[in-house]
């Protein structure tokens, strides 16, 4: 049935998928000299270093995230509530900012090496290597695993720990035999997110000169001006993501992981002795290195440069960031709301799958989307000029391009929050409203909208935070002379003015911390 609602969904899906399709289509063309050269020389290094990062960051975030979730869920000790909150904080620090900070702290002329030299040690070690990137990325990304797995632990704990204890199992056995397997979807799902982010990461790999696929895509496109090879690399990155996702999907299999939530109070075990101190050590590490040290660094240099940099220009940049993030979050939530509503009122096969298609942009590396959108809008502009609609580049390099990129990239966040929230509202309410004289649109405004305003607000915050921290798309697609907090930090860092980035990093962190705190307090992450 093709009605106005479904047509809107289809057109939106078509537009959002177009950049990705263009990339794949372009990559299938004939090989260029550059591509042959790339294959002979650096391609294997691009792939292997990307793989090494994906696997090692996956492993480290697993240890940090699952370990932290386990300790804070099943044990009681002093400051446990502090850690529950503090462990989520590194989420507010973008990976590349963390990268800049540690490259500065461990730089030759800086704190760490000066201290080492003052001790009479002449040894110098260069921090710009793949191992540092592994550790920094893990510190920045483990909160995904921690937050998602903790939520799953909490749920299975209250439902199953008491029944299992009554069957005479030991707590250790219950954890490994029941709770860990039940949390497998949460663990695999969050690790998949981490791995996707790792493949997609641009700022830190570029700055630390690690030859992974994402910076390679940009360099081939903008440095070598070879679009074919760039899209070829992009498709390889896409394939990697698809492999990660299919492993996750395969792992989930057919087993049902649904738990009937019967909230029963479970007594947490008290941690004592050496176990307690080891736990403090383990839990403090990510908080100190993932948040505290970066925060101190940022605070110190923000203070130092505040007088120099806190001017009208800073205000403009701050406003740009806020405006772009809130506008894209608003548009995404509105569109996702309408699309979700459409598959609710017309639950056809196609409509049910449409949210999966619309989520593809989130799984694609930012670089892939960036070049897809450049191709799409250059072609459209060419067409517009040829047909005398405009004489100048109309879409390329406009703010609209950037906005569109954010929508493609982060639509999945909107769709997911909207879909899970629609599921919780009985469809009979919609029918009741219609039999009382309201059409679909009025019903949407009078019934579903007020009932979902909390969920829509949380979705808005999630998209807002993601957009605020986004780097590669913003960097490549922003209009001329348009700066956001992230692009400014990036430009300064690459001009070796690391300390000046502090004030912009502070902007990002402070703005992210407010919604993040709301989310943690309301237990919505």
């Amino acid at each position: 049935m093709l009605n106005r609602w479904s047509s809107f969904s289809y057109i939106l899906t078509f537009i959002i998928l177009l950049p990705i399709v263009l990339v794949i289509n372009h990559a299938l063309g004939s090989e260029t000299q550059t591509l042959i050269h790339l294959k002979d020389t650096v391609l294997s290094e691009y792939i292997s270093s990307t793989l090494i990062l994906v696997v090692s960051v996956g492993f480290l975030t697993f240890i940090l995230g699952v370990g932290a979730a386990y300790l804070t869920t099943f044990y009681h000790f002093r400051f446990v509530n502090f850690f529950v909150f503090a462990l989520a904080l590194p989420f507010a620090v973008p990976t590349y900012i963390m990268g800049y900070i540690y490259s500065d702290i461990f730089g030759y002329f800086n704190h760490f090496h000066m201290f080492v030299r003052s001790m009479g040690i002449k040894e110098y070690f260069n921090v710009l290597n793949i191992y540092s990137v592994m550790i920094i990325m893990s510190l920045a990304l483990y909160p995904y695993v921690y937050l998602i797995v903790k939520a799953s632990f909490e749920k299975s704990k209250s439902a199953l720990l008491n029944p299992a204890l009554s069957l005479g199992s030991s707590r250790k056995r219950i954890f490994f035999k029941i709770i860990l397997p039940l949390s497998r979807p949460a663990i695999m799902g969050s690790l998949a997110l981490v791995m996707m982010e790792t493949i997609s990461e641009y700022g830190i790999t570029e700055y630390y000169n690690i030859k992974t696929l994402t910076p390679a895509i940009f360099n081939t496109w903008f440095g070598l001006h070879d679009s074919r090879s760039a899209t070829y690399l992009a498709v390889i990155a896409m394939i990697m993501v698809l492999v990660v996702l299919s492993i996750e999907k395969y792992n989930r299999g057919k087993a049902s992981y649904k738990i009937e939530s019967t909230a029963s109070e479970v007594k947490k075990q008290q941690l004592k002795g050496y176990k307690l101190y080891m736990s403090y050590f383990f839990l403090s590490l990510p908080v100190i290195f993932g948040f505290l040290i970066p925060l101190i660094w940022i605070a110190v240099y923000s203070y130092e440069y505040a007088a120099k940099l806190l001017d009208d220009k800073f205000v403009t940049i701050l406003t740009n960031s806020l405006y772009a993030a809130s506008l894209s979050a608003f548009i995404i939530m509105s569109l996702a709301f309408v699309v979700g509503y459409t598959s609710r009122i017309f639950p056809t096969m196609v409509n049910r799958y449409i949210s999966k298609f619309l989520s593809l942009g989130f799984t694609m590396p930012g670089a892939v989307i960036a070049i897809g959108i450049i191709m799409l809008f250059t072609d459209t502009d060419k067409w517009l000029i040829e047909h005398y609609v405009t004489t100048d580049l109309f879409l390329s390099g406009s703010f609209f391009t950037l906005l569109f990129a954010y929508i493609v990239r982060f639509f999945a966040i909107g769709v997911n929050t909207v879909d899970s929230s629609f599921e919780r509202i009985s469809f009979n309410l919609n029918k009741a409203s219609r039999s009382l004289g309201c059409n679909y649109f009025k019903t949407l405004l009078k019934v579903e909208l007020p009932l979902m305003k909390n969920a829509l607000f949380f979705g808005f915050i999630l998209v807002f935070m993601a957009t605020l921290k986004e780097l590669p798309l913003t960097l490549v697609l922003r209009p001329f002379n348009y700066e956001t907090l992230t692009t400014k930090a990036y430009t300064l860092a690459n001009a070796q003015m690391l300390h000046e980035t502090a004030i912009y990093a502070l902007g990002i962190i402070v703005i992210s911390l407010i919604p993040l705190t709301i989310l943690i307090v309301k237990k919505h992450v």
């Binding site: 009979n428 009741a432 409203s433 219609r434 039999s435 309201c438």
Partner: protein, 305 residues
């Protein structure tokens, strides 16, 4: 004729409704009865407009509502729908719920009159979660009455009420509908409920209406064995159905001789599973025994018709 369904067909993967014909007079209360999966809720959804039939036509008050070419949307059909779980809007007060479908949002006298009708005066500012199940149901029927619909559809309105309260709520609801002089169609799977409230019952079996008649006729003259057994104990000789109150047991010689096969104690009575001899043939009967026939080796039964 307020509602007229002609040759209505609906299939999902297999046929759900086959050639449904149904005519309802103004002010009648009709029950659609059948086992779960017999298509009765689908029929109600089609009348309301939530589902589209594959063929057939629907007229309300002589006006064409649905056929191959025309399909009036639910919001324009002027049909009220009472849902199984009441579907009250949780974000609105009782007053907000009652006035949801009403043009004049400040009509306090209407709210008052409706609340009086359902015996819930003073409930204007309460929220649905503050009401008991029975109260929620009365509000949901009042919300429907507020828009003055031509027909009220009720989808298993008693299924989520516990048995103790059921009789009272059934009585209340019936009173409200009778008072409003509205035409109503109930969907139910409970034969006792259907007989108690309806002017006519439509029995759905294998996607078809096998009988559409008054409760008395459906009870005493069931058109099929399935209909007969659905409404209670049914005993057959040849194709003729005999209800419990059409059979008397006695020790003196009577119409037919009977032997006890086995006995089940049910508290107020014994359920006798007996064999009745008619013209050299034996027929299995179930009868209730309030005296002590279950001890007899053989006794006689008489059939009233």
């Amino acid at each position: 004729m307020i509602l007229e369904l002609k040759q209505l067909n609906k299939r999902f993967d297999k046929p759900v409704l086959k050639d449904i014909d149904l005519e309802i007079e103004q002010g009648q209360i009709i029950s659609i009865l059948g086992k779960s999966g017999s298509g009765k809720s689908t029929l109600l959804n089609i009348i309301a407009g939530f589902e589209k039939a594959n063929s057939g036509s629907l007229h309300i008050n002589g006006q064409l509502i649905f056929d191959k070419k025309k399909n009036i949307e639910p919001q324009d059909r002027n049909i009220g729908f009472v849902f199984q779980n009441y579907a009250l809007f949780p974000h609105l007060t009782v007053e907000g719920n009652l006035l949801f479908g009403v043009k004049n949002k400040k009509d306090k006298t209407l709210v008052k009159a409706l609340l009086e009708m359902v015996d819930l005066e003073g409930y204007e500012k309460k929220y649905p979660h503050e009401l008991s199940g029975g109260e929620q149901q009365r509000i949901s029927i009042a919300r429907v009455l507020a828009t003055d619909p031509d027909i009220i559809l009720l989808d298993e309105p008693f299924s989520s009420v516990d048995t103790l309260l059921k009789t009272q709520i059934e009585k209340d609801l019936l009173m409200i509908i009778k008072k409003s002089r509205k035409t109503a169609i109930f969907v139910t799977h409970d034969p006792k409920e259907a007989m108690a409230i309806s002017d006519k019952i439509a029995f759905l079996e294998n996607s078809e209406i096998v009988q559409y008649d008054t409760p008395q006729n459906i009870y005493y003259q069931p058109r099929s064995n399935a209909v007969a057994s659905f409404f209670g104990v049914a005993n057959f000789i040849e194709e003729q159905c005999y209800r419990l109150n059409q059979i008397t047991l006695h020790k003196q010689e009577g119409m037919y001789k009977a032997q006890v096969d086995h006995v089940i104690f049910r508290g107020e009575y014994y359920e006798l599973h007996i064999k009745v001899n008619v013209d050299q043939k034996q027929y299995p009967f179930v009868v209730f025994d309030y005296d002590d026939f279950h001890k007899e080796d053989a006794f006689y039964i008489s059939l009233l018709k």
